[in-house]
Symmetry: C2
Subunit: 285 residues, 2 copies
Protein backbone atom coordinates (compact mmCIF):
# COMPACT_ATOMS: atom_id res chain seq x y z
CA UNK A 1 0.00 0.00 0.00
CA UNK A 2 1.12 3.55 -0.81
CA UNK A 3 2.50 5.76 1.90
CA UNK A 4 -0.13 8.32 2.83
CA UNK A 5 0.95 11.93 2.49
CA UNK A 6 -0.50 13.35 5.66
CA UNK A 7 -1.33 16.93 4.80
CA UNK A 8 -3.21 17.46 8.03
CA UNK A 9 -0.23 16.58 10.20
CA UNK A 10 2.22 18.52 8.05
CA UNK A 11 -0.05 21.58 8.03
CA UNK A 12 -0.24 21.36 11.81
CA UNK A 13 3.55 21.41 12.15
CA UNK A 14 3.79 24.34 9.72
CA UNK A 15 1.22 26.22 11.77
CA UNK A 16 3.29 25.64 14.91
CA UNK A 17 6.34 27.17 13.27
CA UNK A 18 4.23 30.08 12.05
CA UNK A 19 2.91 30.63 15.58
CA UNK A 20 6.49 31.09 16.79
CA UNK A 21 7.23 33.52 13.95
CA UNK A 22 4.00 35.37 14.70
CA UNK A 23 4.95 35.70 18.37
CA UNK A 24 8.38 37.04 17.37
CA UNK A 25 6.76 39.67 15.17
CA UNK A 26 4.46 40.69 17.99
CA UNK A 27 7.43 41.10 20.32
CA UNK A 28 8.75 43.58 17.78
CA UNK A 29 5.46 45.44 17.83
CA UNK A 30 4.02 44.00 14.62
CA UNK A 31 0.61 42.36 14.78
CA UNK A 32 0.14 40.35 11.58
CA UNK A 33 -3.36 40.92 10.29
CA UNK A 34 -5.39 39.45 7.45
CA UNK A 35 -8.41 41.15 5.91
CA UNK A 36 -10.88 38.86 4.18
CA UNK A 37 -13.54 40.16 1.82
CA UNK A 38 -16.59 38.03 1.11
CA UNK A 39 -19.27 39.25 -1.29
CA UNK A 40 -22.62 37.51 -1.31
CA UNK A 41 -24.01 34.42 0.30
CA UNK A 42 -22.12 31.45 -1.14
CA UNK A 43 -22.30 28.78 1.56
CA UNK A 44 -19.07 27.00 0.58
CA UNK A 45 -17.25 30.36 0.69
CA UNK A 46 -18.55 30.98 4.19
CA UNK A 47 -17.11 27.66 5.34
CA UNK A 48 -13.75 28.49 3.74
CA UNK A 49 -13.71 31.88 5.44
CA UNK A 50 -14.57 30.33 8.79
CA UNK A 51 -11.72 27.82 8.41
CA UNK A 52 -9.28 30.59 7.56
CA UNK A 53 -10.50 32.54 10.57
CA UNK A 54 -9.88 29.53 12.83
CA UNK A 55 -6.37 29.01 11.45
CA UNK A 56 -5.57 32.69 12.05
CA UNK A 57 -6.76 32.47 15.63
CA UNK A 58 -4.64 29.42 16.31
CA UNK A 59 -1.50 31.15 15.06
CA UNK A 60 -2.28 34.54 16.54
CA UNK A 61 -2.88 36.36 13.28
CA UNK A 62 -5.52 39.05 13.61
CA UNK A 63 -8.45 38.68 11.29
CA UNK A 64 -10.87 41.22 9.89
CA UNK A 65 -13.91 40.11 7.89
CA UNK A 66 -15.68 42.33 5.39
CA UNK A 67 -18.97 40.64 4.59
CA UNK A 68 -20.57 42.57 1.75
CA UNK A 69 -24.15 42.18 0.62
CA UNK A 70 -24.57 41.19 -2.99
CA UNK A 71 -27.38 43.72 -3.57
CA UNK A 72 -25.51 46.77 -2.33
CA UNK A 73 -21.99 46.01 -3.54
CA UNK A 74 -20.90 47.84 -6.67
CA UNK A 75 -17.60 47.47 -8.48
CA UNK A 76 -16.69 50.95 -7.25
CA UNK A 77 -17.41 50.15 -3.61
CA UNK A 78 -15.44 46.89 -3.81
CA UNK A 79 -12.43 48.63 -5.38
CA UNK A 80 -12.66 51.44 -2.84
CA UNK A 81 -12.63 48.94 0.04
CA UNK A 82 -9.54 47.21 -1.42
CA UNK A 83 -7.81 50.57 -1.86
CA UNK A 84 -8.53 51.47 1.76
CA UNK A 85 -7.10 48.15 2.92
CA UNK A 86 -4.08 48.68 0.67
CA UNK A 87 -3.36 51.94 2.45
CA UNK A 88 -4.05 50.66 5.96
CA UNK A 89 -0.63 49.96 7.55
CA UNK A 90 -2.21 47.60 10.09
CA UNK A 91 -3.39 45.21 7.38
CA UNK A 92 -0.66 42.90 6.05
CA UNK A 93 -2.67 40.56 3.86
CA UNK A 94 -5.82 41.00 1.78
CA UNK A 95 -7.86 38.09 0.53
CA UNK A 96 -10.87 38.37 -1.74
CA UNK A 97 -12.84 35.15 -1.43
CA UNK A 98 -13.95 33.87 -4.84
CA UNK A 99 -16.40 33.51 -6.41
CA UNK A 100 -17.91 36.97 -6.29
CA UNK A 101 -21.21 37.88 -7.99
CA UNK A 102 -21.12 37.83 -11.79
CA UNK A 103 -21.82 41.53 -12.17
CA UNK A 104 -18.51 42.38 -10.47
CA UNK A 105 -15.13 42.22 -12.24
CA UNK A 106 -12.95 39.94 -10.12
CA UNK A 107 -9.91 40.46 -12.34
CA UNK A 108 -9.92 44.19 -11.71
CA UNK A 109 -10.35 43.49 -8.00
CA UNK A 110 -7.36 41.11 -7.92
CA UNK A 111 -5.29 43.63 -9.91
CA UNK A 112 -6.16 46.30 -7.34
CA UNK A 113 -4.87 44.34 -4.34
CA UNK A 114 -1.44 45.71 -3.40
CA UNK A 115 1.04 43.06 -4.63
CA UNK A 116 2.79 43.28 -1.22
CA UNK A 117 -0.47 42.26 0.50
CA UNK A 118 -1.60 39.77 -2.12
CA UNK A 119 -1.42 36.65 0.09
CA UNK A 120 -3.40 34.57 -2.41
CA UNK A 121 -0.89 35.29 -5.18
CA UNK A 122 -3.65 36.22 -7.65
CA UNK A 123 -2.44 39.72 -8.64
CA UNK A 124 -1.07 39.37 -12.21
CA UNK A 125 2.20 41.00 -11.11
CA UNK A 126 2.79 38.15 -8.66
CA UNK A 127 1.64 35.57 -11.20
CA UNK A 128 4.23 36.97 -13.59
CA UNK A 129 7.00 37.01 -11.00
CA UNK A 130 6.34 33.35 -10.29
CA UNK A 131 6.63 32.58 -14.00
CA UNK A 132 9.89 34.52 -14.18
CA UNK A 133 11.31 32.67 -11.17
CA UNK A 134 11.31 35.75 -8.91
CA UNK A 135 10.41 35.83 -5.21
CA UNK A 136 6.69 36.43 -4.80
CA UNK A 137 3.52 35.22 -3.11
CA UNK A 138 2.69 31.83 -4.55
CA UNK A 139 -0.95 30.70 -4.78
CA UNK A 140 -1.67 28.63 -1.69
CA UNK A 141 -2.81 25.29 -3.10
CA UNK A 142 0.09 24.73 -5.52
CA UNK A 143 2.48 26.07 -2.90
CA UNK A 144 1.11 23.55 -0.40
CA UNK A 145 1.55 20.71 -2.89
CA UNK A 146 5.21 21.57 -3.45
CA UNK A 147 5.75 21.81 0.31
CA UNK A 148 4.28 18.32 0.77
CA UNK A 149 6.54 16.87 -1.92
CA UNK A 150 9.55 18.57 -0.32
CA UNK A 151 8.64 17.33 3.13
CA UNK A 152 8.26 13.73 1.91
CA UNK A 153 11.59 14.08 0.04
CA UNK A 154 9.99 13.35 -3.31
CA UNK A 155 12.48 14.72 -5.81
CA UNK A 156 11.03 16.25 -8.98
CA UNK A 157 14.31 16.67 -10.88
CA UNK A 158 14.01 15.04 -14.30
CA UNK A 159 10.72 13.40 -13.31
CA UNK A 160 7.68 13.24 -15.55
CA UNK A 161 5.08 15.37 -13.78
CA UNK A 162 1.60 15.31 -15.30
CA UNK A 163 -0.85 17.96 -14.13
CA UNK A 164 -4.52 17.38 -14.95
CA UNK A 165 -6.34 20.71 -14.84
CA UNK A 166 -5.16 24.11 -16.06
CA UNK A 167 -6.88 26.55 -13.71
CA UNK A 168 -5.31 29.90 -12.87
CA UNK A 169 -5.22 29.03 -9.18
CA UNK A 170 -3.84 25.47 -9.27
CA UNK A 171 -2.71 24.03 -12.58
CA UNK A 172 -0.94 27.04 -14.06
CA UNK A 173 1.11 28.03 -11.00
CA UNK A 174 2.02 24.35 -10.58
CA UNK A 175 3.60 24.33 -14.03
CA UNK A 176 6.03 27.02 -12.89
CA UNK A 177 6.75 25.44 -9.52
CA UNK A 178 7.44 22.04 -11.06
CA UNK A 179 9.66 23.58 -13.77
CA UNK A 180 11.58 25.35 -11.00
CA UNK A 181 12.24 21.89 -9.55
CA UNK A 182 13.53 20.73 -12.94
CA UNK A 183 10.64 18.39 -13.67
CA UNK A 184 9.44 17.70 -17.18
CA UNK A 185 5.89 19.01 -17.04
CA UNK A 186 2.79 18.05 -19.02
CA UNK A 187 -0.51 19.89 -18.62
CA UNK A 188 -3.69 17.99 -19.51
CA UNK A 189 -7.27 19.29 -19.35
CA UNK A 190 -10.80 18.79 -20.62
CA UNK A 191 -9.72 19.03 -24.27
CA UNK A 192 -6.87 16.54 -23.95
CA UNK A 193 -7.25 13.52 -26.20
CA UNK A 194 -6.35 10.08 -24.80
CA UNK A 195 -5.79 11.44 -21.31
CA UNK A 196 -4.73 8.05 -19.98
CA UNK A 197 -1.80 8.00 -22.42
CA UNK A 198 -0.35 10.89 -20.43
CA UNK A 199 -1.43 9.93 -16.91
CA UNK A 200 -0.13 6.37 -17.28
CA UNK A 201 3.38 7.71 -17.87
CA UNK A 202 3.41 10.12 -14.93
CA UNK A 203 6.00 9.63 -12.20
CA UNK A 204 4.06 12.27 -10.30
CA UNK A 205 0.39 12.80 -11.13
CA UNK A 206 -1.39 15.89 -9.81
CA UNK A 207 -5.13 16.08 -10.41
CA UNK A 208 -7.21 19.23 -9.97
CA UNK A 209 -10.38 19.00 -12.04
CA UNK A 210 -13.27 18.74 -9.58
CA UNK A 211 -14.70 15.43 -10.83
CA UNK A 212 -15.15 12.80 -8.11
CA UNK A 213 -13.11 9.60 -8.54
CA UNK A 214 -12.33 10.52 -12.15
CA UNK A 215 -8.81 9.06 -12.22
CA UNK A 216 -9.04 5.26 -12.21
CA UNK A 217 -6.46 2.65 -11.35
CA UNK A 218 -5.68 1.78 -14.98
CA UNK A 219 -4.79 5.43 -15.65
CA UNK A 220 -1.97 5.40 -13.11
CA UNK A 221 1.54 3.97 -13.37
CA UNK A 222 2.76 1.44 -10.82
CA UNK A 223 4.50 3.31 -7.95
CA UNK A 224 3.46 6.75 -9.11
CA UNK A 225 3.12 9.61 -6.65
CA UNK A 226 -0.53 10.73 -6.75
CA UNK A 227 -1.62 14.14 -5.50
CA UNK A 228 -5.36 14.69 -5.37
CA UNK A 229 -6.50 18.33 -5.26
CA UNK A 230 -10.20 17.61 -5.74
CA UNK A 231 -12.69 18.21 -2.97
CA UNK A 232 -16.05 16.88 -4.15
CA UNK A 233 -19.13 16.09 -2.11
CA UNK A 234 -21.05 12.87 -2.82
CA UNK A 235 -24.00 12.02 -0.58
CA UNK A 236 -22.57 14.24 2.13
CA UNK A 237 -19.15 12.56 2.00
CA UNK A 238 -16.00 14.15 0.62
CA UNK A 239 -14.29 12.53 -2.36
CA UNK A 240 -11.24 13.53 -4.35
CA UNK A 241 -10.70 13.48 -8.10
CA UNK A 242 -8.82 10.20 -7.71
CA UNK A 243 -10.34 6.77 -7.07
CA UNK A 244 -8.39 6.50 -3.82
CA UNK A 245 -9.55 3.03 -2.74
CA UNK A 246 -8.37 1.36 -5.93
CA UNK A 247 -5.23 3.42 -6.49
CA UNK A 248 -3.81 3.35 -2.98
CA UNK A 249 -2.35 -0.11 -3.61
CA UNK A 250 -0.68 0.89 -6.85
CA UNK A 251 0.81 4.28 -5.98
CA UNK A 252 3.99 4.77 -3.96
CA UNK A 253 2.61 7.90 -2.27
CA UNK A 254 -0.91 9.27 -2.27
CA UNK A 255 -2.78 12.15 -0.64
CA UNK A 256 -6.10 11.36 1.03
CA UNK A 257 -9.23 13.52 0.72
CA UNK A 258 -9.86 14.99 3.22
CA UNK A 259 -6.59 15.47 5.08
CA UNK A 260 -4.26 15.87 2.10
CA UNK A 261 -3.95 19.01 0.01
CA UNK A 262 -6.81 20.88 1.75
CA UNK A 263 -5.14 21.61 5.10
CA UNK A 264 -1.92 22.57 3.31
CA UNK A 265 -3.74 25.28 1.35
CA UNK A 266 -4.75 27.07 4.54
CA UNK A 267 -1.31 26.57 6.09
CA UNK A 268 0.32 28.23 3.08
CA UNK A 269 -2.14 31.11 3.30
CA UNK A 270 -1.03 31.62 6.90
CA UNK A 271 2.58 31.35 5.73
CA UNK A 272 1.95 34.12 3.19
CA UNK A 273 0.36 36.41 5.80
CA UNK A 274 3.40 36.04 8.08
CA UNK A 275 5.70 36.60 5.09
CA UNK A 276 3.74 39.73 4.15
CA UNK A 277 4.04 41.07 7.70
CA UNK A 278 7.78 40.36 7.74
CA UNK A 279 8.29 42.02 4.33
CA UNK A 280 6.31 45.09 5.31
CA UNK A 281 8.32 45.35 8.51
CA UNK A 282 11.53 45.37 6.44
CA UNK A 283 10.15 48.06 4.14
CA UNK A 284 9.16 50.41 6.96
CA UNK A 285 12.46 50.00 8.79
CA UNK B 1 8.53 16.70 -48.36
CA UNK B 2 7.08 18.91 -45.63
CA UNK B 3 5.39 22.15 -46.51
CA UNK B 4 7.72 25.00 -45.61
CA UNK B 5 6.30 27.55 -43.20
CA UNK B 6 7.49 30.72 -44.84
CA UNK B 7 7.98 33.14 -41.96
CA UNK B 8 9.69 35.68 -44.17
CA UNK B 9 6.75 35.99 -46.52
CA UNK B 10 4.19 35.99 -43.73
CA UNK B 11 6.12 38.63 -41.79
CA UNK B 12 6.20 40.73 -44.93
CA UNK B 13 2.43 40.61 -45.30
CA UNK B 14 1.97 41.46 -41.61
CA UNK B 15 4.28 44.45 -42.03
CA UNK B 16 2.19 45.65 -44.95
CA UNK B 17 -0.96 45.58 -42.82
CA UNK B 18 0.90 47.36 -40.03
CA UNK B 19 2.03 50.05 -42.46
CA UNK B 20 -1.61 50.78 -43.28
CA UNK B 21 -2.49 50.94 -39.58
CA UNK B 22 0.49 53.18 -38.96
CA UNK B 23 -0.59 55.54 -41.72
CA UNK B 24 -4.10 55.67 -40.24
CA UNK B 25 -2.68 56.60 -36.83
CA UNK B 26 -0.59 59.33 -38.39
CA UNK B 27 -3.65 60.75 -40.10
CA UNK B 28 -5.14 61.05 -36.63
CA UNK B 29 -2.05 62.90 -35.45
CA UNK B 30 -0.37 59.98 -33.69
CA UNK B 31 3.16 59.10 -34.70
CA UNK B 32 3.96 55.62 -33.33
CA UNK B 33 7.42 55.66 -31.84
CA UNK B 34 9.68 53.00 -30.40
CA UNK B 35 12.57 53.72 -28.03
CA UNK B 36 15.32 51.10 -27.96
CA UNK B 37 17.91 50.98 -25.21
CA UNK B 38 21.18 49.16 -25.83
CA UNK B 39 23.80 48.95 -23.10
CA UNK B 40 27.29 47.88 -24.01
CA UNK B 41 28.95 46.52 -27.11
CA UNK B 42 27.40 43.12 -27.80
CA UNK B 43 27.74 42.65 -31.55
CA UNK B 44 24.74 40.34 -31.96
CA UNK B 45 22.61 42.88 -30.09
CA UNK B 46 23.73 45.60 -32.47
CA UNK B 47 22.57 43.53 -35.42
CA UNK B 48 19.21 42.90 -33.77
CA UNK B 49 18.77 46.60 -33.08
CA UNK B 50 19.68 47.46 -36.66
CA UNK B 51 17.09 44.98 -37.97
CA UNK B 52 14.42 46.43 -35.70
CA UNK B 53 15.34 49.90 -36.88
CA UNK B 54 14.95 48.82 -40.51
CA UNK B 55 11.54 47.23 -39.85
CA UNK B 56 10.37 50.42 -38.13
CA UNK B 57 11.46 52.52 -41.10
CA UNK B 58 9.63 50.30 -43.55
CA UNK B 59 6.38 50.60 -41.60
CA UNK B 60 6.77 54.26 -40.72
CA UNK B 61 7.30 53.82 -36.99
CA UNK B 62 9.64 56.41 -35.54
CA UNK B 63 12.68 54.98 -33.82
CA UNK B 64 14.88 56.41 -31.10
CA UNK B 65 18.07 54.63 -30.07
CA UNK B 66 19.70 55.04 -26.68
CA UNK B 67 23.15 53.54 -26.95
CA UNK B 68 24.65 53.52 -23.47
CA UNK B 69 28.31 52.90 -22.69
CA UNK B 70 28.93 49.96 -20.37
CA UNK B 71 31.49 51.92 -18.32
CA UNK B 72 29.30 54.88 -17.53
CA UNK B 73 25.90 53.21 -17.14
CA UNK B 74 24.74 52.67 -13.57
CA UNK B 75 21.55 50.96 -12.45
CA UNK B 76 20.26 54.37 -11.38
CA UNK B 77 20.95 56.00 -14.73
CA UNK B 78 19.32 53.11 -16.60
CA UNK B 79 16.21 53.24 -14.39
CA UNK B 80 16.08 57.02 -14.72
CA UNK B 81 16.19 56.75 -18.52
CA UNK B 82 13.33 54.22 -18.51
CA UNK B 83 11.30 56.44 -16.20
CA UNK B 84 11.80 59.40 -18.51
CA UNK B 85 10.68 57.34 -21.49
CA UNK B 86 7.68 56.09 -19.47
CA UNK B 87 6.59 59.68 -18.96
CA UNK B 88 7.28 60.84 -22.49
CA UNK B 89 3.90 60.90 -24.30
CA UNK B 90 5.62 60.73 -27.70
CA UNK B 91 7.12 57.31 -26.94
CA UNK B 92 4.67 54.40 -27.34
CA UNK B 93 6.98 51.44 -26.96
CA UNK B 94 10.14 50.85 -24.92
CA UNK B 95 12.51 48.00 -25.63
CA UNK B 96 15.54 47.15 -23.54
CA UNK B 97 17.81 44.98 -25.66
CA UNK B 98 19.15 42.02 -23.69
CA UNK B 99 21.68 41.02 -22.56
CA UNK B 100 22.83 43.99 -20.52
CA UNK B 101 26.09 44.01 -18.51
CA UNK B 102 26.13 41.66 -15.50
CA UNK B 103 26.46 44.45 -12.94
CA UNK B 104 23.04 45.82 -13.90
CA UNK B 105 19.76 44.30 -12.70
CA UNK B 106 17.74 43.55 -15.83
CA UNK B 107 14.74 42.32 -13.85
CA UNK B 108 14.35 45.66 -12.10
CA UNK B 109 14.73 47.37 -15.46
CA UNK B 110 11.99 45.25 -17.06
CA UNK B 111 9.76 45.85 -14.03
CA UNK B 112 10.27 49.59 -14.45
CA UNK B 113 9.07 49.71 -18.05
CA UNK B 114 5.50 51.03 -18.08
CA UNK B 115 3.32 47.95 -18.79
CA UNK B 116 1.46 49.98 -21.43
CA UNK B 117 4.73 50.55 -23.32
CA UNK B 118 6.20 47.09 -22.69
CA UNK B 119 6.26 45.95 -26.32
CA UNK B 120 8.52 43.00 -25.54
CA UNK B 121 6.03 41.65 -22.97
CA UNK B 122 8.78 41.19 -20.35
CA UNK B 123 7.26 43.22 -17.49
CA UNK B 124 6.04 40.68 -14.89
CA UNK B 125 2.60 42.29 -14.89
CA UNK B 126 2.22 41.46 -18.58
CA UNK B 127 3.70 37.99 -18.08
CA UNK B 128 1.07 37.40 -15.40
CA UNK B 129 -1.77 38.72 -17.55
CA UNK B 130 -0.77 36.31 -20.29
CA UNK B 131 -0.86 33.43 -17.80
CA UNK B 132 -4.31 34.53 -16.60
CA UNK B 133 -5.62 34.74 -20.16
CA UNK B 134 -6.01 38.54 -20.12
CA UNK B 135 -5.24 40.91 -22.99
CA UNK B 136 -1.61 42.00 -22.84
CA UNK B 137 1.61 42.39 -24.81
CA UNK B 138 2.82 38.91 -25.67
CA UNK B 139 6.54 38.25 -26.04
CA UNK B 140 7.37 38.55 -29.73
CA UNK B 141 8.89 35.16 -30.58
CA UNK B 142 6.14 32.97 -29.08
CA UNK B 143 3.54 35.37 -30.44
CA UNK B 144 5.07 35.01 -33.90
CA UNK B 145 5.00 31.21 -33.64
CA UNK B 146 1.30 31.20 -32.79
CA UNK B 147 0.60 33.58 -35.68
CA UNK B 148 2.41 31.25 -38.08
CA UNK B 149 0.40 28.27 -36.89
CA UNK B 150 -2.83 30.27 -37.25
CA UNK B 151 -1.91 31.47 -40.71
CA UNK B 152 -1.15 27.92 -41.89
CA UNK B 153 -4.42 26.73 -40.31
CA UNK B 154 -2.64 24.29 -38.01
CA UNK B 155 -5.18 23.62 -35.29
CA UNK B 156 -3.79 23.08 -31.78
CA UNK B 157 -7.03 21.94 -30.13
CA UNK B 158 -6.44 18.63 -28.36
CA UNK B 159 -3.05 18.26 -30.04
CA UNK B 160 0.07 17.07 -28.25
CA UNK B 161 2.40 20.08 -28.28
CA UNK B 162 5.90 19.48 -26.99
CA UNK B 163 8.05 22.53 -26.25
CA UNK B 164 11.77 21.94 -25.83
CA UNK B 165 13.27 24.82 -23.83
CA UNK B 166 11.77 26.66 -20.87
CA UNK B 167 13.15 30.18 -21.21
CA UNK B 168 11.23 33.18 -19.93
CA UNK B 169 11.12 34.71 -23.40
CA UNK B 170 10.12 31.71 -25.51
CA UNK B 171 9.24 28.46 -23.75
CA UNK B 172 7.23 29.76 -20.82
CA UNK B 173 4.98 32.19 -22.74
CA UNK B 174 4.43 29.44 -25.33
CA UNK B 175 2.97 27.18 -22.64
CA UNK B 176 0.25 29.74 -22.01
CA UNK B 177 -0.41 30.47 -25.66
CA UNK B 178 -0.71 26.77 -26.51
CA UNK B 179 -2.99 26.14 -23.51
CA UNK B 180 -5.16 29.03 -24.71
CA UNK B 181 -5.52 27.08 -27.97
CA UNK B 182 -6.58 23.99 -26.00
CA UNK B 183 -3.45 21.98 -26.76
CA UNK B 184 -2.07 19.44 -24.31
CA UNK B 185 1.33 20.92 -23.52
CA UNK B 186 4.57 19.28 -22.41
CA UNK B 187 7.67 21.31 -21.52
CA UNK B 188 11.04 19.59 -21.85
CA UNK B 189 14.46 21.06 -21.06
CA UNK B 190 18.07 20.26 -20.24
CA UNK B 191 17.10 18.14 -17.21
CA UNK B 192 14.50 16.08 -19.06
CA UNK B 193 15.25 12.37 -19.08
CA UNK B 194 14.66 10.41 -22.30
CA UNK B 195 13.84 13.53 -24.28
CA UNK B 196 13.07 11.54 -27.42
CA UNK B 197 10.25 9.74 -25.60
CA UNK B 198 8.45 13.08 -25.49
CA UNK B 199 9.50 14.55 -28.83
CA UNK B 200 8.56 11.37 -30.75
CA UNK B 201 4.96 11.73 -29.59
CA UNK B 202 4.60 15.40 -30.47
CA UNK B 203 1.99 16.40 -33.03
CA UNK B 204 3.59 19.83 -32.89
CA UNK B 205 7.21 20.12 -31.80
CA UNK B 206 8.63 23.53 -30.92
CA UNK B 207 12.35 23.71 -30.20
CA UNK B 208 14.09 26.68 -28.58
CA UNK B 209 17.35 25.56 -26.97
CA UNK B 210 20.16 27.11 -28.98
CA UNK B 211 21.94 23.86 -29.94
CA UNK B 212 22.57 23.49 -33.67
CA UNK B 213 20.88 20.48 -35.32
CA UNK B 214 20.12 18.97 -31.91
CA UNK B 215 16.77 17.41 -32.85
CA UNK B 216 17.39 14.43 -35.15
CA UNK B 217 15.04 12.62 -37.50
CA UNK B 218 14.48 9.68 -35.15
CA UNK B 219 13.25 12.07 -32.44
CA UNK B 220 10.35 13.30 -34.59
CA UNK B 221 7.02 11.66 -35.36
CA UNK B 222 5.96 11.07 -38.96
CA UNK B 223 3.95 14.09 -40.19
CA UNK B 224 4.70 16.22 -37.14
CA UNK B 225 4.67 20.00 -37.38
CA UNK B 226 8.19 21.20 -36.50
CA UNK B 227 8.89 24.77 -35.39
CA UNK B 228 12.56 25.65 -35.05
CA UNK B 229 13.32 28.72 -32.92
CA UNK B 230 17.09 28.22 -32.84
CA UNK B 231 19.42 30.61 -34.62
CA UNK B 232 22.93 29.19 -34.35
CA UNK B 233 25.99 30.09 -36.34
CA UNK B 234 28.23 27.31 -37.67
CA UNK B 235 31.18 28.28 -39.85
CA UNK B 236 29.48 31.53 -40.71
CA UNK B 237 26.24 29.79 -41.74
CA UNK B 238 22.98 29.88 -39.80
CA UNK B 239 21.56 26.64 -38.45
CA UNK B 240 18.49 25.93 -36.37
CA UNK B 241 18.08 23.58 -33.41
CA UNK B 242 16.53 21.04 -35.77
CA UNK B 243 18.36 18.85 -38.30
CA UNK B 244 16.33 20.38 -41.12
CA UNK B 245 17.79 18.41 -44.03
CA UNK B 246 16.90 15.06 -42.53
CA UNK B 247 13.58 16.03 -40.95
CA UNK B 248 12.05 17.95 -43.84
CA UNK B 249 10.98 14.67 -45.49
CA UNK B 250 9.31 13.36 -42.35
CA UNK B 251 7.47 16.43 -41.04
CA UNK B 252 4.19 17.70 -42.47
CA UNK B 253 5.20 21.32 -41.89
CA UNK B 254 8.58 22.76 -40.94
CA UNK B 255 10.08 26.21 -40.45
CA UNK B 256 13.40 26.93 -42.13
CA UNK B 257 16.30 28.77 -40.49
CA UNK B 258 16.71 31.51 -41.57
CA UNK B 259 13.35 32.68 -42.88
CA UNK B 260 11.10 30.96 -40.34
CA UNK B 261 10.54 32.18 -36.80
CA UNK B 262 13.13 34.98 -36.96
CA UNK B 263 11.29 37.40 -39.27
CA UNK B 264 8.05 36.75 -37.36
CA UNK B 265 9.66 37.92 -34.12
CA UNK B 266 10.37 41.36 -35.55
CA UNK B 267 6.95 41.56 -37.20
CA UNK B 268 5.27 40.88 -33.85
CA UNK B 269 7.41 43.56 -32.20
CA UNK B 270 6.14 46.01 -34.81
CA UNK B 271 2.61 44.74 -34.16
CA UNK B 272 3.05 45.47 -30.45
CA UNK B 273 4.31 49.01 -31.10
CA UNK B 274 1.26 49.78 -33.24
CA UNK B 275 -0.99 48.21 -30.60
CA UNK B 276 0.67 50.31 -27.89
CA UNK B 277 0.14 53.48 -29.93
CA UNK B 278 -3.53 52.57 -30.52
CA UNK B 279 -4.09 51.78 -26.81
CA UNK B 280 -2.47 55.01 -25.68
CA UNK B 281 -4.58 56.94 -28.14
CA UNK B 282 -7.71 55.40 -26.59
CA UNK B 283 -6.53 56.29 -23.10
CA UNK B 284 -5.88 59.94 -23.88
CA UNK B 285 -9.19 60.39 -25.68
Amino acid sequence: MAELINGKELAQSIRQILKIKCDELKEKGIKPKLAVILVGDDSASKIYVRNKNKACEEIGIEFEEYILKEETTTQESLIKLIENLNENPNIHGILLQSPIPQNLDINEAFRTINPDKDVDGFNPLNVGKLSLGQDTFVACTPHGIIKMLEEYKIDLEGKNVVIVGRSNIVGKPLIQLCLNKNATVTVCHSRTQNLEEYTKKADILIVAIGKPNFIKEDMVKQDAVVIDVGINRIDGKLAGDVDFENIKNKASYITPVPGGVGPMTIAMLMNNVIKAAENQKLKTK
